[in-house]
Symmetry: C2
Subunit: 330 residues, 2 copies
């Protein structure tokens, strides 16, 4: 990122919210416009919400601002080279093969670049966040599910279908719980927010934890992993055991990643981890030091993500600046 880069329009399309902002060098995010994603109204309404958010973000900065391009961060799977969003589960069943890049570009009259959220976040953390200077790193986000991206030798791994980097879908415990993807004992099925919430709900229903039972009663359908974390913080041993199990599976998965990739850094984001980074990353770093292969285990550091909620907008800006899909060394 050179100091004289012009500003860019950045769009972060998620399942619940569309966010847009003007971003200036070196990744400074202006005031973001937020619009609820109209998933139920179909693809055209979602595309229109994206265009509206971008127009409002631009207008809020003033007509004198001249963005050079638009960067778009969307849920996968995508084809970043054609700028097409393929069929992300959280944008509704009708959202299939939408040429979002070209539709947004035509509406705003600016060139646009699009890529998958995890790849975009990895790019952003590598250029301006917790992995600056690294050529070999992973980005992992643990929230409702677990996603990520892998950078090896300065290159983002994609695979022929763009499907590489599904770091939540490695087996950790083949006798463990069933994953949303259909397999058994995947990392996501044990360590993700949805898994922690499910275990918390089960503990509440079985009567093992009065604290969790009260939390489920109070929050109903919105009971989630953060309520299990709250119960742990308040001293509930059942909640603590659920989260210890989630952190244990994550730490063991980190050993797998270090032995597979010999990374310099594993950057971990997502609300579940960032709310209590020491308790998640401490045991993971210790286990990697103890169990991974010697040189690789000594080198790897598992660290919290730095860019917070803006990671998608910052990464989208970097896409726009580079004029193509996410890449670390290109």
């Amino acid at each position: 990122v050179k100091a004289e880069e012009p500003p860019a329009l950045a769009l972060d399309l998620g399942g619940t919210q569309v966010r847009a902002a003007v971003v200036t060098t070196p990744g400074r995010v202006g005031s973001a416009v937020r619009i609820p994603t109209p998933v139920d109204e179909g693809p055209d309404a979602v595309v229109e919400a994206c265009v509206t958010a971008l127009r409002q973000a631009w207008a809020s900065e003033g007509a004198h601002v001249r963005p050079a391009a638009i960067g778009i961060c969307t849920p996968g799977p995508v084809d970043p080279f054609r700028g097409v969003v393929v069929d992300p589960p959280n944008l509704g069943p009708r959202f299939r093969d939408v040429p979002l890049r070209d539709r947004v570009a035509a509406s705003l009259g600016l060139p646009a670049v699009l890529d998958r959220d995890t790849q975009v976040a990895a790019l952003a953390e590598g250029r301006l966040g917790a992995a600056v200077g690294a050529t070999d790193y992973l980005y992992i986000t643990i929230s409702t599910g677990i996603g990520g991206a892998i950078v090896s030798g300065g290159r983002l791994l994609r695979g022929p279908d763009g499907g590489a980097g599904e770091v939540g879908h490695i087996v950790v415990d083949r006798t463990g719980p069933r994953c949303g993807c259909g397999a058994t004992g995947h990392l996501e099925a044990i360590s993700a927010g949805v898994a922690v919430a499910r275990a918390g709900r089960e503990a509440a229903e079985s009567g093992r934890s009065p604290a969790l039972r009260r939390a489920v009663a109070a929050h109903g359908a919105s009971f989630g992993a953060r309520h299990v974390a709250d119960a742990e913080a308040a001293g509930d041993p059942v909640a603590a055991a659920i989260l210890a199990d989630a952190r244990d599976a994550f730490a063991r998965a980190c050993v797998s990643f270090v032995d597979l990739f010999n990374p310099e850094v594993i950057v971990v984001g997502g609300g579940l981890v960032l709310g209590d980074a020491a308790r998640w990353l401490g045991p993971a770093n210790e286990r990697v030091r103890r169990e991974a292969f010697r040189l690789a285990g000594r080198r790897a550091r598992i660290v919290p993500a730095r860019l917070g909620d803006d990671v998608g907008l910052v990464g989208a800006y970097l896409l726009a600046v580079r004029g193509g899909p996410a890449a670390v060394d290109g």
Copy 2:
């Protein structure tokens, strides 16, 4: 590999045997010289055995043969860029930081190139074996232990310490048996020859399998995974269960690999698998089709290695021809 490439000298240094041969385009291996590896006599004796094997291989083809270079395949860890063998466990405790490449080159008066056995095998299977034409593939060898290499987007993953690609050391069952590396429930601890043999020995000692008890009595310290496979072939249900468990863990690990790398092919070599490829690869292919992400799971094929025992010599020849460490697109 162009048709007019000159022949090369190829060396495959293993823990039990040094093999050398003249290899001609496109990877045709001449009669190989085999010398037991004098591990107990120390590094100088091992280097001397390498030089002797290469000289004999060259002499056996006749003085008119003019090899252009020497390719060397050795156990890891290595530094391929400096041509140094770091400290491979199976070459003895004194074999540390040996500049094998330059010592062999000086003795023979030819340029030499050196790389790690798994990377060399991946190169060979990619150029002349089961992964020809693939830009995204894994090579996995299951014998006493489990090793491998990963190629993504046409590039071998190495990592800053050359430690990438330890595909045997991913957790599969966090409540499973302890791995030789110290971690718990790694793929190698369940699916490798050493794990199958250990389970077979335990079944023999516990009295659960009279067939395995007889095999242990007959073979003593040399009892190994192949005797468990023999007992399975003879109808022993305990041996069949041990191997079914090993294959199950392997199949689940393949789902992890497909979700991480979106490979076109996973090439599997090693005596344990190749002795009964259908029973190992059939369930793995089925599980990947069923449990991996849709596009990646449809694309990936898990196939047996093609180059057999010569894979190290063929790969070493390819190193010599390209004049540098293993790379797929370079």
